[in-house]
Symmetry: D5
Subunit: 92 residues, 10 copies
């Protein structure tokens, strides 16, 4: 089932640059692995913000929380989760 | 280019049922036509609300406004438009 | 899986009293049927408000939307849905 | 009587990891003790957030405040308390 | 136990004046009866608004909801309930 | 005349514990002195929050600001002041 | 003592034009009488809005509420009242 | 001097179509006249909303309020006015 | 022309006390100079808050921004500016 | 196509003055280069705030995000992006 997730990233100013770079590299690898296995269906940048809208396809709430809470940037993020359902006018 | 749009529908209580049904039928036909021609890429119901999240793929702002303002339910909707960009970690 | 749902009811002042009473009677019957079959796990009144917090146990997002959108009072309600997951400190 | 409580945890980035781990361990023990004695009736994780929704069953406002203010993570939390009452359509 | 309640009154413009006057008269009688029996401990007008802050002293959540939901103006009010506890610096 | 005041306390995490304890002790003494002289009429804890609702009885706006701005915790507080008037349904 | 008051006017679309004109005429006369007697010290239009910011000089909260609640447009207004005190850097 | 103005239009559902069309025609003529005389410098549609962002160039606050309050759609609009100043990095 | 300005001051806890005192002294001198030359027409304390409401009388937007941005406390303040116009019911 | 962008700058108090000055100098040079090449069409200061409203003219969402995310002050800014379309009453 599908969930829309908005992620806003707020990296503290006092975090050393190498530390931030290392976390972001792990975040990118993690995001790409989940895209390849099909659970992170869409990943879009919000124009002008350090934020994204994503769509996840998971078996349920517990799997989604496990995926999100393991994001390397999770402690620096604010997340909003919206459960999605089939729309009666959708053709897919 | 892509835009995320949230649409919240508020049909006035005093609108006659046949009138509402007629508008909804036109809305559905319009939504399906735009999905078939590829400009309305995704259409998801927000669980528990008379609302949807949609993704549009259009040539630009003017085309998007034209599409949205011609929605049969447009006078009964609140819309929020978020421009999307390519995310550096996206694989697609 | 579990979802917390807050429902705020706003019955229009101009709705005739018998019409409102009839909808509320259907709402009650519907709510009790879903409680008996185990999908509407909890139903609590918010003190001082015409509102409730409920917990639903369903197979997924589509089932939840179907249940909620068939509430007789659905056109007079504002709903907020929060997906819930297992908490690591929960004993149940 | 019952109260719904939402707890949002914000651990400061500068707190040493061992200190945070020690507080969380005490928090978990405290939460489980209160669940065993029946006063912390439900504890659910909010999907995608370092937050929970809980239901407490206590004798009154003073007991609830005493329980909540003794949470080891209390200084790092934002809490919202909603008093609950019996719902006329509830079967339990 | 004590609860702070803010009540904001919004009487619809289309309600006939006599109907409004009749409801307000019943509201006043009800409020004074509850003040005399000690359960409506304080009742203050918010300056410049058709609103009040009140303090109720009741046995619990269910009793408070019963009192509030029977207010003659209840269908025209927005209520906010805040549970209060003993403050460690209070001398009373 | 009466004013309702809500005070939310936010002590910075980096304040040394003894410093915080010393300020809180002065706050308590100050609050109790003002209660004894009759100007701090009510002091209630908000359940689950490091906050209180208070009622002050003062000669006017200037006296109230002087009392509040001398609170030892004033630099760590957010305050909201609501002027109160006699309610036509109040019996006192 | 002084109070800043913001008034936002929302006249219902269905009010007949003559009725609205009559209320506005009484409002103007009332506002000017209070300005002449010195209690309505300032009256400014908010640019682009059917709203004003005003400063009242009254003996206290009860007098202010009495003045405001007798505004002919009171049932069509939203009011926000802010008590003001002497500023230590003010020269007047 | 310049002001940014956002205008959101909310035409009541019960307004007859001819009446709405007549007001909109006058609005358009008025907007074009002010653009031609140079005081309404920019007029942009907000994508997906019955709203615009505009820039006005006027002699001062009084002139701006006079222009805005004479908009034929003024009674159906919510306006937000932001005064603008020369930016030190602007080349014009 | 007139502008209402609300200023909320937030001095960081870590600023040394002498540094804060020196900035406040300069702020006071600056505020009094502008009051004497007639451009800072009113300066009122918001009761219970480290905030003020002020009225400025300046030639236009650029002059106002220049005055405000030179406030010694400007980097520690949040400001809200509301342009004011002549009110048709004002007698002055 | 055009986008309205509001930028609010929040430079951390602990950033050394030279570091801030160096970033601001790069920001100014960057802003002026984009104004000269025509993509940063308007740049206005919001009166009384460390903020601006700007209008960008770009080929699409991706170009806008690239321009904005390369602002030297981007890590210290909050941005809001509003896509604009041709208004039917605009003469240009």
């Amino acid at each position: 089932m599908l969930f829309l997730v908005r992620m806003d990233v707020h990296i503290p100013h006092e975090m050393p640059a190498e530390r931030a770079a290392e976390i972001k590299a792990r975040e990118k690898a993690y995001a790409q692995a989940l895209q390849h296995d099909g659970r992170w269906r869409h990943l879009w940048r919000v124009v002008g913000e350090y934020a994204n809208y994503s769509v996840f396809d998971v078996a349920g709430n517990d799997e989604l929380h496990e995926l999100l809470s393991q994001l390397p940037l999770f402690p620096c993020m604010t997340l909003q989760v919206t459960p999605l359902a089939q729309h009666p006018s959708a053709i897919a």
